[in-house]
């Protein structure tokens, strides 16, 4: 009897890899976007308030 952890191993592992990609890529993009927007926001606030 094989280790139950190894059952469906191939299909589970490839699904896991796919999910790593699918989760990580949008997260990084979100982080990048967030940083970018924050910098823009901070700059415009600063420029409005401190001429």
């Amino acid at each position: 009897m094989i280790d139950p952890r190894h059952r469906y191993r191939t299909v589970r592992r490839s699904t896991a890899f796919l999910l790593y990609l699918i989760v990580a890529v949008p997260t990084l993009m979100a982080l990048f976007l967030l940083t970018d927007r924050t910098i823009l926001l901070v700059r415009s606030v600063w420029e409005t308030l401190v001429p």
């Binding site: 009897m1 139950p4 952890r5 190894h6 469906y8 699904t15 896991a16 989760v23 409005t48």
Partner: protein, 498 residues
């Protein structure tokens, strides 16, 4: 330019205020980033645990009456998703809502997997079924005579019988037995290499059903008519053809049981040999021959049932192979017919008395079988009137040289005039699409070759359902071209145009 004394102060306040606003913005952004990273980290870690490491006991083991593990698409894919969700929720509480988009993505991936797997199931089953249909393969169990939609297969690891291995919940291209052995799910994928069983009676099937067309060939007739001897003769005529032309024709006995029964054919057909009556206690078991000519293969299932089975309606009814056949051999002993016997002179009668069987009425078995065939065709919804019947008069060798010698007379006329079977023939013409008369001698010649009349009959038998096979037999195995030189044919047998 106004010199406002408050100016430096105001500018300082503005700067401080701007700094505070910016700080709040940056802090908020930072909080968002950290929160997102934390949540995603938790999600990824759970995915890693459940999917990558498989560390999750939720995948149910097969129950006592299960034979195989479910395929990943047959449930575990959802159980894994649910487990990831459960763990993430425990970790994050209400914040799990922020992970919903990611969980939704995971659900989409699971759904795509499911769609792909089930598409594989449907397509592979369709292709397999279409191939079977295109090759007109219908599988019949030679033991219980039931038609099977698919054979059962025995796991070569643990011996469990898997009833329906075809793609489905338990696997697409292969399924995993409870013992973890991987088994192919279709004939197309090589399941025939496994031990095969009948799904209805669990009898071992050794003829690799599903790989070639099956051809059900019932022999029927009164007790002692010569069915068993004729079955040996048909096999030997094919075998002889294969010996003469090994490159075009091959004949193989499929399975131990068939081999045990037909192995002795050469001895059985030696002219002095007497065949013992088939024990009437047991139902017939189809003997399977694998006949191959070039790329065309046919599994010929010969059913030789003891004559007693054709006496009563109750027993004939059990022979459900009759309804699955389209070619039938009615075997009759001419010596048993009073008209023939009385035409022999006293000396001939004395000489042949020991070869005469007891059943005086060949018509009785015919009517039983005819009724049964029609009934079974109706039940199975098969088109009636398409069957072929060969009326096979046996003992041609014994009749040769007597006052009723059939040589030189067309068999049909001989049957009509000497045997007086005009009624039988007329009835047969109404009931069957085509009727042919043969006189056979189930004996071997001095060289050991079977009598040409047997080859003539084999050729007719195979002519319709395996045109190429019939042709292979026709050309190279022509009785005149091979056996004819060795010995003078002792009987007349013409297939006529078929």
């Amino acid at each position: 330019m106004t010199d406002d004394p408050w100016e430096p102060f105001l500018s300082t306040v503005r700067t401080v205020f701007a700094f505070l606003v910016c700080a709040v913005i940056v802090l908020a952004a930072l909080a968002l980033v950290v929160g997102l990273l934390l949540l995603v980290r938790i999600h990824l870690r759970r995915i890693h645990e459940v999917l990558y490491l498989g560390d999750h006991a939720g995948v149910g083991s097969p129950g006592p009456e299960d034979f195989a593990w479910l395929g990943y698409h047959g449930g575990p894919v959802w159980w894994d998703l649910a487990e990831v969700y459960r763990r993430v929720r425990l970790d994050t509480g209400l914040f799990v809502v922020f992970l919903y988009p990611f969980l939704a993505v995971q659900a989409v991936v699971a759904a795509a997997h499911l769609a792909l797997a089930w598409a594989g199931v449907v397509v592979s089953r369709l292709v397999d079924a279409a191939l079977l249909a295109a090759r007109r393969i219908r599988m019949v169990c030679p033991n219980c005579f039931e038609a099977m939609s698919y054979p059962s297969y025995v796991c070569d690891g643990c011996g469990r019988t898997h009833r329906d291995v075809r793609p489905g919940m338990w696997g697409v291209f292969r399924r995993h037995c409870v013992c973890d052995r991987a088994l192919p799910t279709l004939l197309l994928l090589g399941s025939a290499d496994l031990d095969t069983r009948c799904p209805h009676c669990d009898h071992a099937l050794e003829h690799r059903p599903g790989e070639a067309r099956e051809f059900v060939l019932p022999l029927f007739g009164a007790a002692g008519a010569g069915k068993t001897r004729l079955a040996h003769g048909l096999y030997l005529s094919l075998e002889h053809g294969a010996e003469l032309h090994p490159e075009t024709l091959s004949v193989e006995l499929m399975g131990e049981e068939t081999e045990r029964r037909l192995r002795e054919s050469r001895t059985v057909l030696s002219p002095r040999h007497r065949v013992a009556p088939t024990p009437p206690g047991r139902r017939a078991h189809g003997a399977t021959l694998r006949v191959a000519a070039g790329r065309r293969t046919l599994l010929v299932q010969m059913y030789d049932t003891a004559g007693e089975w054709f006496n009563t309606h109750e027993r004939t009814e059990e022979l459900s192979y009759l309804g699955r056949a389209t070619t039938f051999l009615l075997v009759l002993d001419p010596l048993a017919v009073p008209a023939v016997w009385e035409a022999l002179d006293a000396e001939e009668q004395r000489r042949l008395a020991g070869d005469r069987s007891g059943a005086r009425d060949p018509e009785r078995a015919y009517l039983q079988v005819r009724d049964q065939v029609q009934r079974q065709y109706r039940t199975l919804g098969a088109a009636p009137g398409k069957g072929r019947l060969a009326v096979v008069v046996t003992r041609g060798d014994l009749l040769a040289g007597t006052s009723v010698d059939p040589r030189g007379t067309p068999p049909e006329r001989w049957l009509d005039e000497v045997v007086g079977a005009a009624n039988l023939l007329r009835a047969a013409r109404v009931d069957f699409g085509s009727v042919e008369v043969f006189v056979t001698s189930a004996v071997t010649g001095p060289s050991g070759a079977p009598d040409p009349s047997l080859t003539t009959l084999s050729r007719w038998v195979l002519a319709r359902d395996a045109g190429a096979l019939g042709a292979t037999l026709r050309e190279p195995c022509d009785p005149l071209s091979d056996a004819g030189e060795e010995r003078v044919p002792v009987s007349a047998g013409t297939g006529g145009p078929s």
